[in-house]
Every structure is written in C-alpha cells, then in structure tokens.
Symmetry: C2
Subunit: 321 residues, 2 copies
C-alpha cells in the first residue's frame, strides 16, 4: 500500500482530515463539524472519528498511519504538543495536550502546528510557493493570519511571528474585540465584518446578507454567504468587503516595504472563495502604499485550495522542525 500520512485542519466550524501517500497525493478524506460545546473531550472525539473516516475512505486503518499532523487555530507549543489561546475552540483557553490525546487514541505519532503556519508550509512545498525563495501568505478568514517565508523557511521569531492581521494601518480606527485599535483584521476579519453587518442592520440598513445566511442553513456569515451577497450586488456587502480589501492591501504593502518578498499568496476561507480576481484587486490596491510601486510583487491565490490546511499539516510528519 505504501506510506500513509494523516493531516488534520482543525477549524472553529469544521474539521477537515486527509490521508495522503508519501508524495502527498490525496488517498482519502473526511469532514466533520467542530463541536461547539463540552470542551476538549468532545473536540478530541470528533477529530478521532474524522481520522477514522478518512482512513476508511483511503482503504487503510489508523494503525497504518506513519503519523498525524494537526494544524490548530491558536498558540502551539510544538515541542510539547500543547494547544492554548484558541478562542474559536470550546475549552482551549488553557494549555491542552492535544497531540498526546490524539496520539493515545490513534496509536500514531502526532505533530502539532499553527493552522495558518501549516497551510503556508503546504503552499511552500506543494502549492503556489514551490518556486519562491520568499513570500508572505495572507490567510483571510474568520481572522486574518499570515505566514512569513524567508529563504524557503517559515519565520517564527520568538514563536509568535506572522500576526499581520493585528498590525495597525489606521490609528484611532475600528477596534478588534481584543482591544487592538485600527488593525487590518478589525476591518477585514470575517467575524469583525459580521459584527459590523449586524450593527448596520440594527441601524436600519437593508442587506440580503442574513437572508442568504438563513437560506444556506448557517448561523453565521460564511465565506459563501459573503460571495453570494457580492454577486447579488448587495450594497452593504460591497462596502464591507471593499473596506476589508483596502485594509488587507495596506498591511500587505507594509510587509512588502519591510521585507521586499517575491510574492503575496492569498488563502483562507474568503481568499480561496474569492480567488484570483480578488487577489488582483488586492494587488492593485497595494500599489499606492508601495515605496517601489514598479517592483510590486504578484498577489496570487493559494494553490492547494480548500484542503490546503489539512495537506499542509501532513508535512509536519517527518519534518525536521
């Protein structure tokens, strides 16, 4: 059968699991909803069930796995396999030994990484960054994460690098729930855009956003809902996405002025949904902020698409770092 490696993309709303071979070709997959109650135990249970499902889809069992890589949305202590500071996951505020809990149940070695970090790693090795020496991945979703690749390595700093979403572009501007003011994510994060949309509705502005949400059977404004509202020409959606694009462009231009990287790679739920036309729009909106506008790097969409996070997580298995 050859080598089988499992990758898990643990998100606030869904758990995406893939099983790949040594060349990272897809052999099986499984998707599950992330439990929103009962804390780590229920989330661990759901992850294990999804891993079993992906193995079944791949025609193997968990015992066949060489290892399991997990990308998780929070602060990761990779050496100890601990996850903490994950506000989008129920019960993960305090450090939790996620790698150990999954490893025991599955009988496999588990490596933990940050969700955006592993997705960017996937682009570096297998996606749009394959031939680049340096790039910045901007993951536009619930929040806006980023990964900095320099000389073909993810730059971690003292462990917390890549918080481009929390850089300031508009002092005195909109605030994030965490209290940071005027940051890119305050304008562009999907969660913050939804808060603003709800405030606009409460103030009497018309929009199809929440009708589309109900039609889609969702309780939040998903990437698809935003895309559908834009397609319908909804004025509020156009305005809020426009402000998000402008904010991402300013922050992206800043990181280009600082690091002069070869490219920007756009991923994440919204980035993947909107695709290359949106990447082009961000590229155009960056230009007024670039010190050397004639050397503007290309803005391209992530090459691995929806499964990029899970496939990137498989790279943690067997990795030196």
């Amino acid at each position: 059968m050859g080598e089988r490696i499992c990758g898990v993309d643990l998100g606030g709303t869904k758990i995406e699991v893939v099983v790949v071979n040594a060349e990272r070709k897809l052999r099986g997959q499984c998707r599950a909803a992330t439990p929103t109650e009962n804390g780590p135990d229920s989330i661990v249970g759901a992850i294990i069930a999804a891993i079993e499902g992906a193995c079944k889809d791949a025609g193997c069992t968990m015992r066949d796995l060489k290892g399991i890589g997990i990308g998780a949305p929070g602060a990761v202590d990779a050496a100890r396999g601990m996850l903490s500071l994950a506000p989008n996951l129920s019960g993960f505020a305090e450090p939790y030994p996620l790698a150990e809990a999954i490893g025991k149940a599955c009988g496999a070695r588990v490596r933990l990484g940050n969700d955006v970090g592993v997705a960017v790693l996937g682009e570096l090795e297998l996606g749009a960054g394959r031939k680049l020496d340096s790039f910045v991945g901007i993951w536009w979703g619930t929040g806006v994460g980023s990964g900095i690749v320099l000389h073909r390595e993810l730059w971690h700093g003292r462990g917390a690098a890549g918080e481009l979403g929390h850089t300031v572009i508009q002092r005195g501007g909109l605030a994030e729930p965490n209290g940071l003011v005027g940051t890119m994510e305050a304008y562009a994060g999907r969660r913050n855009m939804e808060t603003r949309a709800r405030e606009a509705v409460a103030a009497g502005r018309p929009t199809v956003l929440f009708d589309l949400m109900t039609e889609a059977g969702k309780d939040r404004l998903s990437s698809r809902v935003w895309a559908d509202a834009l397609a319908a020409g909804d004025a509020l959606a156009v305005e809020l996405i426009g402000e998000g694009v402008a904010a991402i462009a300013a922050a992206a231009a800043n990181v280009v002025n600082i690091l002069d990287v070869e490219a920007i790679i756009l991923g994440g739920g919204l980035g993947t949904r909107f695709g290359q036309p949106m990447a082009d729009r961000i590229g155009a909106a960056m230009r007024p902020y670039l010190f050397q506008a004639d050397k503007a790097p290309p803005v391209v969409t992530a090459g691995l698409g929806d499964l990029g996070g899970a496939i990137g997580a498989t790279l943690l298995v067997g990795a030196k770092r």
Copy 2:
C-alpha cells in the same frame, strides 16, 4: 602597524571617515561637510580628502589601507559599486560608479553599501546586536530607515527591504514629499518635521526652534536643535517630537507583530542624540499596538553612537556579502 581599514559614512550634510585596525578599534578619523553643489565630482573629491585626513590622523597613508567601505544614502548595487536614487546628495539621481571613482583615486578596493544597512551591520557585529539572533534597527534621522536582522544576517529581500519608514500607520494622514500618505516617516522624519515646523511658524505659532537653529549657525533643524528645543520646553517641538515618537512606535510594533524579533535598536541622528530615555519612551508607546504586550521586546539605543555608520562600513571590507 598591522591591518588598516577605512570606513566612510556618506551623509547628506556630512562625511564621516574612520580608519580602524583588524579588530575595528579606532585608529584615526576625519569629518567633512558634504558639498551640496557641482554633483558627484565635488562629493568624490570631498570623500577622498576626508579619507586622506583620516589616514593622516591614523599615522598611515591611503596605500596602507586593506580596503575602503562606504555607506551611502540611496539605492546601492553592491556588486557593481553603483549608487543611485540618493535624493539627499547633489547629482546622484542617476546611477553613478562611486566605488570605482574612489578606488581609482585611493588605490584601494572599495565596497559600497546602504548607509542604514552598514550602520545596522555595525550594531550586529560590534554594537547592541552582538548577542542577538534577530532585531530591527530603526535609524531616526533626516528620514527613518531600518535594517532587518534575522538569524544574524541582514535581510535584503529583492534588494529593497527595510523601508519601515514608508509603511502606513494612518491612512489618509500626513503625506511625504514622495506622495506616500500616512507613513511613519511623514510624521517622524526630521525633514518632514522641519517642514511642519515652518508651516506652523508661517501660521503664527511661536517656537524657539529657528532661533536655536540660527544660534547654532545651521540652516536646518539639526538633531541638536530639536534636543535643545525639547530641553527648553518648546511647545511646538514637544508636540512634533511627540507625534514622531507615536508614529515610530506604531510602525515598530507592526514589525514586532510581523517578525517577533528579540529587540529594537534605535539609532540615527535623532535616535543617538535622544538616547535611552527616548528608546524607553518608544518602547512604552509600542505596547498598545502589540498583539502580545507581555512579550514586548526591549528597545535599546545603538551601541556604536555617532561613528557607527563609518565603523559599520569597515565591515564591508573582507565581508562575504
């Protein structure tokens, strides 16, 4: 006599030259005013005269020099020894073969680097960055340059990295003469602060800034003039420097959020003049913008002081890069 190496810090107002030994200990120095007319020829002549002066001070001749390193304020093509895009130097808008011109006259090998880059290199090897794996040097002077050190190497990107002064912190805010809007340098660059001071005076605001300038025999607001005005409690100087500090702090916090470096090193004419109390003030002003305020890196002043640019330039001689 041992090895003798020459370093030149070519600035818009002065040329600072040092002669050091192999351990970069100072053996001689010379300072000259930068000619502001008649283009490259007169500047080349002034540099050569200052090199001769520094050699004389060191008890050697130009023939004894192992090599000459030059830090220059513009875009540098190090491989070809070409300087261009140097708006602070008369006649250096177009590419000019500065290394060759100096080398011919002095009979020594000449290496060219960017002025902020060589000053940051000096801090890395000999100054406040000696024991750091990563830091960002912020050089606060006529403009605000920066140098990014990662794993003990200057990061150049595609050749134009480090333009932290031109990152946006306030969309729709003050503009630089180059047209960039809301950048840190629009608020903090000494040249831009002087423009604002002149506008304030034209609008009838009182200040001692220009009296102090005249007393000091200057035709521009030097770092010392700003320091003296602050010491005198001049309200306009306090306000403008305060806005400059706030802008530097926001941009510095952004680069920390992005790269999570171990320290910020503050240098440049104003940074060196104001010293550690100002570094502390910038450190405090950064905190509201940091994603992880409890992991704020220290802000320290450059260890090599006024001669840091020239001493750093000597490191270009014999360097691999």
